[in-house]
Symmetry: C2
Subunit: 152 residues, 2 copies
Amino acid sequence: MTSRWLSPTEDRAWRGYRRMFTLLESQLARDLAKQSDLSMADYTVLSNLAEAEGRKSRVTALADQVQWSQSRLSHQISRMEKRGLVSRSQTPDDGRGALIVLTRTGLRSIAGATPGHMASVRKHLIDLLSPDELTTVSEMAERVVDHLSSEQ
Amino acid sequence: MTSRWLSPTEDRAWRGYRRMFTLLESQLARDLAKQSDLSMADYTVLSNLAEAEGRKSRVTALADQVQWSQSRLSHQISRMEKRGLVSRSQTPDDGRGALIVLTRTGLRSIAGATPGHMASVRKHLIDLLSPDELTTVSEMAERVVDHLSSEQ
DNA sequence: CATCTTTACATGACATATCATATAGAAGGA
DNA sequence: TCCTTCTATATGATATGTCATGTAAAGATG
């Protein structure tokens, strides 16, 4: 079915990509869940917050950064707030605002999970690729992201 | 945080990959939803069934093919069954069995959705990559998939 | 400054995914 | 055959994601 629309080379790349990312995603999630009490979504939020200055971020800024919808992030934050990983506070300047702040618990959690997660990323992806391939991935990704960001 | 664990080159590739696939996934899903009444999950099931011989497949076989858990597929099938896209029937040989069969409605649906979806895949990914890059993607994907499949 | 528009965020309803478990038939002995 | 174990599948509970919409503050305009 698919092959009528893509050349054999294209089809192979497209199917390969899909299989890879489906498998990789679930493997990373499983590894992470085994080694911590975090989901991939939790990890994404926490690691971005940990990198942010002051370990806090506006909702929209963080949503942009991780390429999530604002709604998705808001729901995620609500759940994480209940577990004590992050907290919300008012912004000083903008009354509509909402600052997401990494809590002490959240920091401990992400710090504990990072080594294992990074080892997992290495093992299942990074270490399987040559330096040239890594460069190619970066270039492709940036091109595709630019294209999609300029879309609409 | 991340950068302590990956070299700059590795980090760039990893972050790029994540951003790309997050964005790509949601763009494709949006396009598909706009042009049809199918989700990406629906599309995956239907297109694989359409390619299968007899346009039917055992649950486990299909789950393996699309790299889903059996449970996920079973739930998905239940929902699609309600909408008339597929139906379940008994296997002749194995009493435990379950054959998922593509219905006439399902076939019409996937046939209608494919051109638009493929155009979307082209536009947002395939046409942005050079032939060399496509080959690299295939090679990388196959390597990673092999690695992950041999895991446990 | 009264009104309109935009921006930032939250929320409810619903679709989807995951994990643990239940059920029933198949298979392989003792 | 009876029993144990394995395999194929379904399902309930719960976590997660999406879309549409609501609320309130900020900004713009007459």
